[in-house]
């Protein structure tokens, strides 16, 4: 459905999701910040244009919600998430609630019934995604780095896939690297590495292997200086992307000085 438009390095290098162009490839979250002012400053410093908001944190009755007030910037688009739901049925309910409350059909679909490690449920996610795409949502599912699941989700029409690098909030980096590479190689929709990115170097590494974007929350929000850390991530994502477009050299595991096995052919 949503074919990517991979740009070359002399044109504008936009990230395209569901036909919408973004100049930033850094998605951010809004949780875990010590106050909303710091959150706003950090998001502005990161250059992010797509920001997740946990529906469960937003007050549905009032118009002047605390979090939302700080996200009123023309370049910032909201990506409501379904954090807190335990199955497809609840996720679908939450999605409709989000569309009504936040006036957007974009949705980060996350179903993690396990509250300990917040591991996404592949079965419920696929079920919910299929229904929500039919209901007109632009669905970005948070999933394990499972290449087959990514293809199945692509087939039901999701706008991007968001495989995890490591458990949410763990800051462990790209523990699923080998599987992310398979997913990126096979995908026809943007691959956004979500969860586990704990340092700018992890973000750069994800971009270097060809991820189309990354999502970072904890590493920025919990940093000693969240605003400066947001800037660091912005630069790291840009650097990683640039390196990917420039084509990295081959990493060699051995030296190439002589050819003892094939020398006799010369």
């Amino acid at each position: 459905m949503n074919k990517m438009h991979e740009s070359n390095n002399d044109g504008a290098d936009a990230l395209i999701i569901a036909g919408k162009a973004f100049s930033s490839r850094l998605l951010t979250g809004t949780g875990k910040f010590g106050n909303h002012h710091t959150m706003e400053e950090a998001l502005l410093a990161s250059g992010t244009e797509l920001v997740t908001v946990a529906l469960k944190r937003v007050s549905m009755d009032g118009e002047d919600d605390d979090i939302l007030q700080h996200l009123h910037h023309t370049h910032i688009n909201l990506l409501p998430n379904t954090s807190g739901v335990r199955n497809a049925e609840e996720a679908i309910f939450a999605a409709h609630l989000a569309r009504e409350a936040l006036q957007t059909n974009w949705l980060k679909l996350e179903i993690h019934p396990d509250p300990k490690y917040l591991m996404p449920d592949p079965i419920e996610t696929l079920k919910a995604a299929e229904k929500l795409v039919k209901d007109g949502f632009i669905v970005l599912p948070y999933i394990h780095a499972d290449p087959v699941l990514c293809k199945r989700l692509e087939e039901v029409g999701v706008a991007a896939v968001m495989p995890l690098g490591a458990p949410i909030g763990s800051n462990m980096g790209l523990k699923t690297l080998e599987f992310l590479q398979i997913i990126i190689e096979q995908s026809n929709v943007p691959v956004i590495v979500d969860a586990g990115i704990g340092a700018p170097s992890h973000a750069a590494a994800a971009m270097e292997i060809g991820a189309h974007a990354v999502l970072v929350n904890t590493a920025i929000a919990v940093a000693g200086d969240p605003v400066r850390m947001a800037t660091a991530f912005k630069l790291a994502v840009e650097a990683g992307r640039m390196a990917y477009l420039a084509k990295l050299g081959i990493v060699k595991a051995y030296a190439e000085s002589s050819s003892p096995l094939t020398e006799f052919l010369n």
């Binding site: 469960k56 944190r57 007050s59 807190g84 739901v85 996720a91 609630l97 909030g169 904890t218 919990v222």
Partner: protein
């Protein structure tokens, strides 16, 4: 049921093994990335006392990583002080002379209105055990009445049957707090000589029934002051581990109520110092990185100011522990004395001064409430 697991662990042996832990055991526990029950024993043992600052640093870091710089606020809403149990440490004990009161629907809404004005979205409904007046129907009606006014409703009431929990869950009940008080089975009976609460086993298996009924969150804990807090907390940790494996979709929280003076009651048999309580809180966090840790207004200002950064994730504020205490009849007798009597606004300011954000709402009912 947990009873089978519980019976495999002899109190005296558990206690002896905690006190036998050495500095080497503590260091091993601190330097691991995943800790087991033996590590937890080391962390709550006397041998860990010299490592308190190091434990606090670790606890602070991993709590921020998981929960961010946030503190969830909630308010208790006492619905009734009627109780048929005799509990030697509780102000609502059946044999305690005080005017008994159970809130009517109108009164509940008055109290709710007050709490809403303070900003609360998470509320904990509390009662004694008086099944004729405050049975499952009363609780169902209370949740039905209050549910539209709050994002998140929990209860701390008498243990119920699984089917009864299902009825309340269908009304939108989120969490149930049920403290074992002590896991010392023999002495449990001396603290709870009369009433349904004297049935140790029924209480012990309550979390199993909660898990089976699909309640989102189960709160556990012991009353510190009854028996050796170290052994009691080992059993709590054993209980949580059992539940986490069995009910993997459920959240868990731990509380650390210290026995506080209340009218006509026993003195604590065991006293936990502030230092030891900090050790206990940090030990829990290091042992279980994802569990919610809750601190009530039983604790004093200074302690609560500092505990914000030590591993706690949830706090009550501006609490009243008497039915109608907020708006209906603020002068009535409380269940126990509140130590941190600051207003909600003052507690919020304190949290913000610590560089944390007070969170009011962290839940949304993602399902249609069944209308019976």
């Amino acid at each position: 049921m947990f009873k089978e697991e519980f019976e495999k662990h002899d109190w005296d042996e558990v206690q002896a093994s905690i006190y036998a832990k050495t500095a080497v055991d503590v260091e091993r526990a601190l330097n691991k990335s995943r800790r087991d029950l033996e590590d937890f024993k080391a962390l709550i043992s006397p041998a860990a006392a010299p490592y308190l600052e190091q434990m606090a640093q670790i606890s602070h870091r991993i709590t921020q990583k998981r929960f961010g710089k946030t503190m969830q606020l909630y308010a208790p809403l006492y619905l009734s002080n009627e109780c048929q149990n005799i509990c030697t440490y509780c102000g609502f004990s059946y044999d305690n002379k005080l005017r008994r009161k159970t809130l009517s629907g109108v009164e509940m809404l008055q109290e709710a209105e007050y709490l809403k004005q303070q900003g609360f979205e998470h509320v904990l409904l509390v009662t004694g055990e008086a099944t004729k007046t405050v049975g499952v129907e009363y609780l169902r009606d209370a949740i039905r009445l209050l549910r539209p006014h709050f994002a998140n409703i929990s209860i701390e009431v008498q243990p119920l049957d699984e089917d009864e929990y299902r009825i309340l869950a269908a009304e939108g009940l989120y969490a149930v707090l049920v403290y074992q008080e002590t896991y010392h089975k023999d002495n449990y009976k001396t603290y709870h000589p009369k009433g349904k609460k004297s049935n140790f086993d029924y209480r012990l298996d309550t979390p199993d029934r909660l898990g089976a009924a699909g309640i989102h969150k189960i709160g556990l804990g012991v009353l510190i002051g009854l028996e050796d807090w170290r052994a009691d907390n080992f059993y709590t940790a054993l209980h949580v581990g059992y539940l986490e494996r069995k009910f993997w979709q459920t959240r868990y929280s731990i509380s650390f109520p210290r026995l506080r003076p209340a009218t006509g009651l026993i003195e604590p048999k065991v006293v936990i110092t502030d230092k030891e309580l900090v050790q206990l809180i940090c030990a829990w966090r290091i042992f279980n990185e994802e569990i919610e840790l809750s601190i009530s207004t039983r604790e004093n200002e200074v302690f609560r100011n500092h505990v914000v950064k030590l591993g706690a994730t949830t706090m009550s504020a501006g609490s009243k522990t008497n039915p109608g205490g907020y708006a209906v009849e603020p002068e009535s007798l409380e269940q126990f004395e509140i130590d941190d009597s600051r207003t909600v606004a003052e507690v919020k300011q304190m949290i913000e001064r610590s560089g944390y954000k007070a969170v009011w709402k962290d839940w949304e009912q993602f399902a249609t409430i069944e209308k019976v």
